[in-house]
């Protein structure tokens, strides 16, 4: 009460946030900047790192057929995962938003549980399901298919496992958006004679676009940056960008090239997020207001 010196909010704010800020500047921002710099500030020649401004690393990434194909494959995989997650996610999101409380609780729990299971374990579980003598082959053989194709070590396996684990990042925002649509809108459409497909296309889909605009870039980013799942389920034939970065840095010790690839990954993720948050978000708002 008496003569206690009162700190100004500004000083107190910085005193409280300061340690975390300093730590993250030193151990997050600086390393990221260092990686960005290494990609344009050094190159590896005959196994020796040469400093000096260069675009050689980026030229190599785009001009070498092998690396270019990995880049394209990463974009294709991340895009497919985002789209498949949206298709699979809508029914779950609708049940989550509109189902009875016990049902939406169950759906949430089942959906989120894979996130708490280690990525290596999940991928291992999928490999046991998708391999030549795994669960799916066993079922198909039981149904009379003599020699079913192996899904393991193909891009399909990576796609399935990526959608599996990143699904909650799609379903939860979708369910949030669907929950905000008044049920009376759907009821009115039903009364007016709209079937389920019409109700979905003309009410649910347009009004849940804000949720989709959150979910799509999230699933894209997480899939594009994955390492373990493509490695275990994709085999050696279809590496993604993460595998390429790991090989360049840990196996070939070409740090500048690895740094350039890492910067490309960041650029890709940021670009997709900005596009969705910025342009599409604004267009949706205009659409929603119109």
């Amino acid at each position: 009460m008496e003569a206690r010196t009162r700190l100004s909010p500004a000083l107190l704010g910085w005193l409280l946030a300061g340690p975390a800020v300093l730590f993250l500047l030193a151990c997050f921002v600086f390393p990221a900047a260092q990686t960005l710099y290494l990609g344009i500030g050094a190159r590896t020649e005959a196994g020796v790192m040469q400093y000096g401004l260069t675009i050689e690393n980026y030229r190599r990434a785009f001009a070498t057929d092998l690396y270019w194909r990995v880049l394209l494959r990463t974009i294709r995989m991340a895009t497919s995962a985002a789209i498949v997650a949206a298709i699979v996610g809508y029914p779950l999101a609708w049940v989550l938003a509109r189902g009875r409380p016990w049902l939406s609780r169950t759906v949430t729990l089942v959906l989120v549980t894979p996130l708490l299971v280690n990525v290596v374990v999940r991928s291992y579980g999928w490999s046991a399901i998708l391999s030549r003598n795994g669960l799916i082959s066993w079922v198909l053989q039981g149904l009379g298919w003599e020699d079913p194709p192996a899904i393991l070590y193909t891009e399909w396996a990576v796609l399935i496992a990526s959608v599996h684990v990143f699904l909650p990042f799609m379903v939860l925002p979708l369910a949030g958006a669907i929950g905000r649509i008044p049920p009376s809108a759907e009821q009115a459409a039903t009364v007016a004679g709209a079937g389920p497909a019409q109700r979905f296309l003309r009410i649910i889909l347009p009004l849940s676009l804000p949720g989709l605009a959150v979910g799509l870039p999230l699933v894209f980013s997480l899939t594009a940056a994955a390492f373990v799942t493509p490695q275990i389920l994709g085999g050696n034939f279809s590496p993604l960008l993460g595998t390429l970065i790991e090989q360049q840095v840990l196996t070939l010790h070409d740090w500048p090239f690895g740094a350039a690839l890492a910067s490309l990954l960041v650029a890709m993720v940021l670009l997709v997020n900005l596009v969705f948050i910025g342009i599409i978000g604004r267009r949706i708002n205009r659409w929603a207001q119109a």
């Binding site: 009460m1 500004a10 704010g13 910085w14 409280l16 946030a17 340690p19 975390a20 800020v21 730590f23 993250l24 500047l25 151990c27 997050f28 600086f30 390393p31 990221a32 260092q34 990686t35 290494l38 699979v88 029914p91 779950l92 049940v95 509109r98 189902g99 009875r100 409380p101 729990l109 089942v110 959906l111 989120v112 549980t113 996130l115 708490l116 299971v117 290596v120 374990v121 999940r122 291992y124 579980g125 999928w126 046991a128 399901i129 669960l135 066993w138 599996h164 699904l167 909650p168 949030g176 049920p183 594009a224 940056a225 993460g242 970065i245 790991e246 840095v249 740094a259 890492a262 993720v269």
Partner: protein, 264 residues
């Protein structure tokens, strides 16, 4: 609000939920097979693979490294994250927006890039010691979860109660311990559990920084999958699934916090 779910939608939902749990249950099924290799469907019944993996020294030391790492990373992230969350929610100070962006930054940048950046920085600075390096890396990725959880709890706590305590003569420490802390405790607990899980399960940071002496469990499991083909890997995977299910129950039932918060 809750409608009847039309039956085709119910069927699709049930099917999707079954597909979601399948890869988590298959390792459990395979771990009890008494064949020296992995088969589907499993044959016979034995728990010897659990004994085998639990008495394997490498697995034990990997588990120990992961537990230690998760504990110190959680403590470190809480020590930095809780005060930061208090500042962000309760105080208006210049640069607040920037601090907010910085604190959530590690969620935006791909983990694999954060990891490779740390590797390059540690080597530049000559900082050695894989455990220390991983500790720092895990703290970076755990801080956002702590800040988000604690901020969420603080935002719902009523600031007028804090003002009331202050008017009645409570000092800042007493206000924190007797008014703020009881209200934010569930949020702090959630943040701590999320931080623990993020660190314990981390692969993308550790893969760059680990060495033979400090080799966390996810890396061990990844290496073991490529080396061993008997059901002991399935047993270890099954144990980790049980661990995750236990965590889900603890968070949902024990603390009454939605598990979904880890994803949103």
């Amino acid at each position: 609000m809750s409608d009847r779910i039309p039956w085709p939608l119910g069927l699709v939902t049930a099917l999707l939920l079954a597909i979601i749990v399948a890869p988590l249950l298959v390792p459990i099924a395979m771990s009890i097979s008494d064949t020296p290799y992995i088969v589907f469907p499993p044959e016979g019944f034995t728990l010897e693979w659990y004994v085998a993996v639990l008495t394997e020294p490498e697995a034990q030391s990997a588990l120990l490294v992961s537990l230690k790492l998760a504990v110190v990373s959680t403590i470190g992230a809480m020590a930095l994250g809780i005060p930061c969350a208090m500042a962000l929610v309760r105080l208006r100070f210049p640069g607040r927006g920037l601090v907010q962006a910085l604190v959530l930054g590690p969620l935006v940048v791909p983990l694999i890039v954060t990891g490779v950046g740390l590797l390059q920085t540690f080597s530049l600075l000559g900082l050695r010691g894989a455990f220390l390096q991983m500790w720092i890396g895990h703290m970076v990725v755990c801080i956002p979860y702590v800040v988000r959880s604690v901020s969420g709890a603080l935002a719902t706590a009523d600031p007028t109660q804090e003002d009331a305590a202050r008017v009645l003569g409570a000092g800042p420490v007493a206000v924190f311990l007797r008014v703020i802390w009881p209200q934010i405790r569930p949020g702090v607990a959630a943040g701590a559990i999320f931080a623990f899980i993020i660190s314990f399960d981390d692969f993308a940071i550790s893969m760059w920084l680990a060495d033979a002496r400090s080799f966390p469990l996810p890396l061990y499991l990844y290496a073991a999958i490529q080396r061993f083909f008997d059901p002991s890997i399935a047993a270890l995977s099954a144990l980790m699934v049980f661990f995750a299910l236990g965590l889900v129950l603890l968070i949902e039932k024990g603390l009454g916090i939605g598990v979904r918060r880890i994803a949103s």
